[in-house]
Amino acid sequence: MKLDSKVPAGPLAEKWDKHKFDLKLVNPSNKRKYHILVVGTGLAGASAAASLAELGYQVTTFNFQDSPRRAHSIAAQGGINAAKNYQNDGDSVYRLFYDTIKGGDYRGREANTYRLAQVSVNIIDQAVAQGVPFAREYGGYLANRSFGGAQVSRTFYARGQTGQQLLLGAYGALNRQIGLGNVNSLNRREILDVVLVDGKARGLIVKNLITGEMERYAGDAVLMCTGGYGNVYFLSTNAMNSNVTAAWRAHRRGAAFANPCYVQIHPTCIPVHGDYQSKLTLMSESLRNDGRVWVPRSQEMAEKLRSGQVKSKDIAEKDRYYYLEERYPSFGNLVPRDVASRNAKMVCDDGLSVIPDGEAVFLDFRDAIERLGKDVIESRYGNLFEMYQRITDEDPYSMPMKIFPAVHYTMGGLWVDYHLMTTIPGLYALGEANFSDHGANRLGASALMQGLADGYFVIPFTIGNYLADLGMKNKVTTDHEAFDKTEADVRAFNQRLLSVKGTRTVDDFHRELGKIIWNYCGMSRNKEGLEKAIGEIHKLREEFWKDVLVPGKEDEFNLELQKAWRVADYFELGETMVRDALQRNESCGCHLREEYQTEDNEAKRNDDDYAYVAAWEYKGEGQAPVMHKENLEFEFVELKTRSYK
């Protein structure tokens, strides 16, 4: 497997513009002769599908919900970054690029990240033109807030529903193209395989989730816009149905999977409360603008708090440990997510947790309410406070929120080159589904930016280069033998699941798998634990294939079968994640190997040996995957120890 990043030569700031000129074009009247299959309709998928259809391509979209509008991009709360410098506070494309590379602990690809920062400004323009009701100042100009890992205010937001509003913007653009007949939108479909002809991606095997029928679609290129794989942990902030299957099946067909161990644990989520729990709820990072994170300073005080002898409001200022403010005076509560999460874990490991059966720290708005008044806090975070109260039955205006880190976003994903093409020609990956822009840690408000950058402003340019070479005459139809064979493979796989007829439910296995991965490949990792995890995953997977209970049949509405194929894929992904964490003998960003940390528990990178992307090649079921390296070359940025002190 050869990894060619195809990063164009030349100065950083000129690469993209020059590259756009160098790319081959498809004549406007010929574009309708190409058919593009877009998997997923979140920010990346909807923006790509709409933009490609506007250009004239024929597009078919697939999503598993009942409408494209429901993709999980919709749940992003806090905002979207852009280097507009509307605040006149020293922001620039270079600064956004620099913050993102640094925030990712120098494990992202320079050229991709720079391009992301460059097009960020166009995204805001596009979204406003679509009618996205961003927050505004009284003069009518756009408002900004601050997010972690940055010392400028560059985050645009629409109350606490920025993801929803941006998605509805992209969904609107998509609807327009559906109405015009340029996009065929197929809901309640899940992709079970990618069909390759002569090594190129030429189609999809698709499950109709309502009828259970297997469907075939042929096209000239396939875009995976399928989001992340955080649900491998069972509990995460992802939607219940977010899954890795489409991306994983592409991996099984030859697309390299990069940096799977880079998983972002979001610092501010509502803590776990019971075994029946189905998901975790995130509270926006924007809350850290005004909320102060603390725990009691002593174990003794923490114990009193947990046993109910004292209330949080009665704990004196000197007995409160504002650990982020004390340890990181420059960034304070706005340190990047990985740093905030790790510190929360550390104080809880030290016995300072604020809840009796579990782990949590306080996020306290008392001082902000005193300073600004309840009204201001309500206008900024009202809907988030409401949500918190609905779930926990506690009023965050009168007592501090209790929060703890939870699995949130996956920086790893399908390996892509500068064109966003995977190692399978004609197969692209956009948004969270790819690995390229965030390195080992993503900064807040950058996921929305990347999804839309890829869909609106990158793929419309790069895809033409591939299609121009592919040509218009080289068509494949769904009666091609490759479709027969691939569909047969999928049917055999599902049949295997259905024929086990064991005793344990799919969820039961998923929960156990999630615990293994959370315990050994979660917020901190070590060699011994990771090695143990591989053994435990193998054992559980063996048991899964012997004892899983999947009722019903293939050709019907079958929710349990749907869960089963996803969990079968999580077993393989989980193992590759663990292997990836094991080979990376350094700490970087979200990946903290306990053996490699500084005296004050910060991540200790090893740039001499590990400044590379680990891209894994699938070698077959039960076979260990093989790692390939893409060396990261930093031409423009000097690698430094990340400091937020």
Binding site: G131, F134, Q165, K279, P551
Partner: protein
């Protein structure tokens, strides 16, 4: 936060397919923690049904944080259950008492046919959006975002309407199964904004026409939609849409 445990009787609508005849079926559940969400309670029941060899209950859900609009359910005759401004996924069992009987049914509307059990087909909503729920601007056409100042008041009004999650509770709650609240939320969101002006008249005509074709009922200003809306979308939007629609009919811009 320590919760109690509840024993409940559930009466749930079971229907094997769009053409099949449905019926209410009774299930007993015990030791349900009041800290559980409503859907987690159904998860627990489903896991038991799978173990017992019975077909699990089909219901739509995804984000489980009240924003995707995928979850539905009429709970004791109320869309999304007894808590105001709450989706079913955010409803917690602390809203119920030990020994309660809870009736769980799908959205009931001609334009939302049942697919299976509690899952209904809401594609009519998408069709209405295809007809005009957007501003026609190609990618790359936009001017600088700050070229056009928009007062906070206008932006806030637009945002109030834009918060709609498209769940369909308004239709399910309406005695006429009218989709006016849903449609008017989009019409008002875009109609408030300067960017939305060029297509304002065309948009309302097209969307209303598609709404009518989908088989939704008329609005008789009962206001149940507003009460049951998990996002608190105001019925004032319907008045605004009616005004726009009247204006558009006088100008009669719509073609084809």
């Amino acid at each position: 936060m320590a919760g109690k445990n509840l024993n409940l009787t559930l009466k749930i609508w079971r229907q094997n397919g769009p053409a099949a005849k449905g019926q209410m079926k009774e299930y007993k559940v015990s030791d349900i923690s009041t800290e559980m969400s409503f859907l987690e309670m159904l998860d627990v029941l489903n896991e038991r049904l799978v173990r017992e060899g019975e077909d699990p209950i089909a219901f739509d859900h995804d984000c489980r944080e009240g924003i995707c609009g995928m979850c539905s359910l009429m709970i004791n005759g109320l869309a999304h259950g007894p808590s105001r401004r709450t989706t079913t996924c955010q409803l917690h069992m602390r809203s119920f008492n030990d020994g309660d009987t809870i009736y769980i049914e799908p959205w009931r509307a001609k334009a939302f046919p049942v697919i299976k059990d509690l899952v209904v087909d809401r594609s009519a909503f998408d069709h209405i959006m295809h007809a005009g729920g957007y501003i026609s601007v190609n990618t790359g056409n936009a001017q600088d975002a700050n070229e056009m100042p928009i007062s906070t008041q206008v932006a806030d009004h637009a945002m109030d309407a834009a918060e709609c999650i498209g769940c369909g509770a308004c239709v399910a709650s309406c005695k006429n199964a009218s989709a006016m609240l849903f449609v008017s939320a989009k019409v008002a969101h875009l109609g408030h904004l300067p960017q939305g002006q060029p297509e304002r008249m065309l948009r309302v005509q097209r969307m209303v026409r598609t709404m009518d074709e989908a088989g939704f009922g008329n609005c008789t200003n009962t206001g149940a939609c507003e009460v049951q809306c998990p996002k608190g979308i105001s019925i004032k939007n319907i008045a605004k849409m009616n005004a726009d629609y009247l204006r558009a009919s006088l100008i009669s811009e719509v073609k084809g």
